[in-house]
């Protein structure tokens, strides 16, 4: 098989994994705060990536502290994720009102509602920005490391572009079924996803050698989902005990 084809396929698969992760985070961010802040976060990250490549070029491979970057963004996503997971557990167990906005409206505290919506938009922006920025840097690393040494940079860029198109189309098709999921369930899913991604990246950043690389994210998603369901049952029982 010609070298160019091998590079296209290798970059397609490797960058495809990163694009799937970026799209998952984008969908999670839009579920929390809507498309507008999530897309602004995405475009902001893309602009930052373009600036990074324009300024550093190939030197980005040697200069960029990718470990520290992963740990930092992993930590930010983890804290966002745990915040949502905690809220979802308290809501679903009946400990906290299912829909805080309704409660706020009933109390006629419009300014609090507006502040809350602003918080949610900021959260969606920050989540999309951080996730897309980190995944984008990883795609740049993949393209440069697989494409540059063999002189097949064009093939590497083609592989990454093809992966982007395939994942973008799949992501847009997933948008409609996702919109039918109830709001609180969606927020629980967002909490689980962000916690899993955050733990994975933070761990990778501080030196954890994850089992089978990115496949571990799926294991972490299952673990966080199981943990939160267990905690929901525990919080629900504690509440019933307190009422009795």
């Amino acid at each position: 098989m010609p070298l160019h084809v091998v590079v296209v396929l290798a970059v397609f698969v490797a960058a495809g994994v990163e694009f799937v992760e970026a799209f998952t985070i984008l969908l999670a961010a839009q579920a929390v705060g809507g498309w507008r802040p999530a897309l602004w976060g995405t475009f902001g990250a893309l602009a930052a990536l373009a600036a990074l490549v324009a300024v550093f070029g190939y030197a980005i491979l040697a200069l960029f502290p990718i470990g520290l970057f992963r740990a930092l963004i992993g930590l930010i996503l983890l804290l966002f994720g745990l915040k949502w997971l905690r809220k979802a557990v308290l809501r679903s167990s009946g400990r906290q009102a299912l829909h805080d906005e309704t409660l706020i409206y009933e109390r006629n505290l419009e300014h609090l509602r507006a502040a809350r919506e602003q918080d949610t938009r900021s959260l969606a922006f920050a989540t999309a920005f951080n996730g897309v920025l980190l995944e984008g840097v990883e795609v740049i690393f993949i393209v440069l490391t697989l494409g540059a040494p063999a002189g097949t940079l064009t093939s590497a860029v083609l592989g990454a572009a093809a992966a982007f198109v395939v994942v973008a189309v799949a992501g847009l098709l997933l948008r409609t079924p996702l919109s039918r999921v109830p709001e609180n369930t969606l927020k629980w899913i967002v909490g689980v996803m962000l916690s899993a991604f955050g733990t994975f990246w933070a761990g990778e950043g501080v030196g954890v050698a994850w089992w089978d690389q990115d496949i571990s994210i799926i294991v972490l998603v299952v673990l966080f989902a199981a943990l939160s369901l267990g905690l929901r049952a525990w919080v629900g029982r504690s509440r019933q005990g307190a009422v009795a």
Partner: protein
């Protein structure tokens, strides 16, 4: 100055398990990773974060 102090106290006392717990788990794993490697470090990290979430919820139940 007092406001800054109140924010610090709130952060440490109210949100310690929610925010500082995961940070502490990451730092501990980061230190251990200097001498040891392997997937088990990931399990330790997950357990640390899970413990922080449990303690945070326990605190919410008591308040």
């Amino acid at each position: 100055m007092r406001k800054v102090w109140d924010v610090v106290v709130d952060l440490v006392y109210e949100d310690a398990f929610q925010f500082l717990g995961p940070i502490a788990a990451i730092m501990v794993v980061g230190v251990v990773a200097r001498w040891a490697t392997g997937a088990w470090l990931g399990i330790v990290l997950f357990l640390g974060i899970a413990l922080a979430l449990c303690l945070s919820l326990r605190r919410a139940l008591r308040s």
